[in-house]
């Protein structure tokens, strides 16, 4: 059952950008590129690490309110300790700006 749920989650993640027409464009980018490590819940390496280094209240990126767009762009392009960098061939500068906007719009 766990396996089935996870498999379905991955599939939904991939197509959610197309289905959720009212979602901000950065949401689909996050789901596609970041969620596999940074979504809420167990089995996410980035969330696990941030819980240890920053504390549980700062572990889930989509729930953070303290992130700055320039910081996000820097971390994506340069990586941060455990996280590897992302190349412009994977996420171009325009997409990165959308991603940074999504993570800094103060959503709860």
């Amino acid at each position: 059952m766990i396996r089935r749920i996870l498999g379905t989650t991955l599939f939904m993640t991939a197509v959610s950008g197309a289905i959720a027409a009212d979602a901000p464009p950065g949401k689909a980018l996050f789901d596609r590129n970041c969620a596999v490590c940074h979504a809420a819940g167990p089995s996410h390496a980035g969330t696990m690490r941030l819980a240890e280094t920053r504390g549980p209240d700062k572990a889930v990126l989509e729930q953070r309110t303290d992130l700055d767009p320039a910081y996000i762009r820097l971390v994506v392009r340069q990586g941060l300790v455990e996280m590897p960098p992302w190349r412009p061939s994977e996420i171009d500068d325009d997409a990165l700006t959308q991603l940074a906007q999504y993570l800094t719009r103060g959503r709860r």
Partner: protein, 523 residues
């Protein structure tokens, strides 16, 4: 910032080459300066941070653009380092072997050209990741499984070309490859196997075509740039049952491997099963600091505490059964009875596992071809991000597995590192993949890790074990260990290299193969 130039190339000549590349792909897809930070190896083990620094990167969108770039590189004498998805982390990521090389980033070539449900194959470009192909198959509703390695963001093509492995019955990725399209170092385009026959309908069905089987020449090599590749996909079986078998003592490894050999060679164990060490399993849902704040090897009492808390063994087999229920029942009876001979053996299924991030749940996905990344939680064990794989190959024999294990474990403990590993079981061999974790921010730890790694390579080679794959920084070291008959194999590789790539523009130093223009200055 002073530009990093390819060796022997003037700033003017380099600028001319970049201008030529821009005319081919457009200004937006030639990267220089700050953008190159994303092409650095984030987990570099060597103290020289510039050892594998790119001078630029160029990202074509088509085979025709790759051909044009290769021709321009020949004209200007500029070396290229092809990458597919660039996620070969722990082996160098997107970085080139030789500092100053231009990365040829093929990520934008990400088309899934064909999937045949009836014949069970896909034809893909280099930038197609496991996530991409999985999503495509699901969206189309094909009853096909792909075989995935642990990093789901990796390239289907790149992993097969690097001799990577996965965990279904199709786990030997290069064995499941069928048909390539290759841009040669002079820009000429070649199709291998049946692809050479105009109008053929069997390019992804029959590997060998007519004449020498040359696809292997384009794996772990610098003889060509593969732009299309066929990969066989497994028909969805009528049943699937993942399992875990745990063993309680270190010394059980010998008996476990000897039991496992006839089961694997006789195909009773159907998939590319793995034996995982205690700490590698534990590290997927816990960190070292939860158990100790002291450096050095963990005492037996702590190891036993981890085993009890996580309900895992000192060694843990992760495998799966595939087929109709009656077939799975019969195979399981043989497997269970065989391993029951080891005292203290425990058998586990998904429904028995209580931990929220239990590894069997992740393995249950990867052993049926669902791509994930969650197992990389293991790098959180000590924190600091750095990790590198030491990957010697041995027979599937208990005495050899124990010899490798004790040899590597003792050295790792001597240097202050925890031992964590996977024994991945192939058709006739064990890949002993040892994960060496280090803090990438600590130069003194990195120096120790580098020293340890080179020592392990030498000691393994002296015992007759060679690595199947390695990080950029150790390609020369490991190539040198394959030195039978006065390095006859390397001489052959160099002869091929010089014939195909006389100007030495393609991936200098890949797997220790240097073109004539750099030979001597780098080896």
């Amino acid at each position: 910032m002073k530009p990093n130039l390819p060796p022997g190339i003037s700033a003017t000549a380099f600028a001319d080459a970049l201008e030529a590349f821009r005319k081919i792909v457009g200004d937006a897809y030639v990267y220089t300066g700050q953008a190159l930070s994303s092409y650095a190896d984030p987990y570099s083990i060597v103290s020289n941070e510039d050892a594998h620094a790119a001078s630029a990167a160029v990202a074509p969108a088509s085979t025709e653009q790759v051909q044009a770039i290769v021709k321009a590189a020949n004209e200007h004498g500029v070396p290229l380092w092809p990458i597919s998805c660039g996620k070969n982390f722990a082996y160098g990521g997107a970085a080139p072997r030789m500092s100053g090389t231009v990365v040829l980033d093929l990520k934008r070539m990400n088309r899934i050209l064909e999937v045949s449900e009836s014949d069970g194959y896909a034809l893909v470009e280099p930038g197609v990741s496991y996530f991409d192909l999985y999503d495509h198959i699901q969206a189309k509703g094909y009853k096909l499984w792909l075989d995935v390695p642990d990093p789901g963001w990796g390239s289907v093509m790149g992993n097969a070309l690097e001799h990577g492995v996965g965990y279904t019955p199709y786990g030997d990725h290069f064995a499941m490859q069928c048909g390539m399209e290759v841009v040669l170092p002079n820009g000429e385009l070649v199709r291998t196997g049946m692809g050479a026959l105009p109008g053929n309908t069997t390019w992804q069905l029959f590997k060998y075509g007519f004449g020498p089987y040359i696809d292997g020449l384009f794996t772990q090599s610098n003889f060509g740039i593969v732009t299309k590749m066929g990969i066989w996909l497994m028909p969805e079986p009528p049943g699937y049952r993942p399992y875990m078998i745990s063993f309680q003592r270190e010394e059980d490894l010998e008996q476990v491997v000897d039991i496992l050999r006839p089961l694997k060679v006789g195909m009773v164990i159907q998939n590319a099963a793995t034996i995982r060490s205690l700490l590698l399993v534990a590290a997927t849902n816990a960190t070292r600091s939860q158990y100790t704040d002291k450096p050095g090897p963990l005492p037996d009492s702590t190891l036993r505490k981890i085993m009890a808390e996580q309900d895992i063994g000192m060694w843990n087999i992760y495998g799966a059964l595939y087929g109709p229920p009656t077939v799975m029942d019969t195979l399981w009876t043989v497997i269970r009875d065989s391993f029951s001979k080891v005292p203290g053996t425990k058998f586990h299924f998904l429904e028995d596992r209580k931990q929220p991030n239990d590894l069997l749940a992740a393995r249950a996905d990867t052993m049926r071809g669902i791509p994930r990344l969650s197992e990389f939680s293991f790098i959180n064990w000590t924190g600091g991000g750095g990790h590198i794989g030491f990957s010697p190959v041995s027979p599937i024999r208990g005495s050899e597995a124990m010899k490798q294990y004790t040899m590597v474990r003792d050295r790792m403990h001597e240097y202050g590192f925890d031992y964590m590993s996977i024994f991945a079981i192939g058709w006739r061999e064990l890949h002993h993949v040892v994960e060496l974790l280090f803090d990438r921010r600590d130069p003194s730890i990195k120096r120790k890790a580098e020293e340890l790694f080179r020592l392990l390579v030498r000691e393994a080679a002296a015992a007759g074990y060679g690595e199947y794959r390695t990080h950029l920084s150790f390609m020369d070291d490991i190539a040198a260990t394959y030195g039978w008959n006065n390095h006859a194999l390397m001489k052959l590789n160099q002869t091929i290299k010089d014939a195909l790539d006389p100007k030495g523009i393609l991936a200098p130093g890949k797997q220790g193969i240097w073109p004539a223009r750099y030979r001597g200055s780098h080896t």
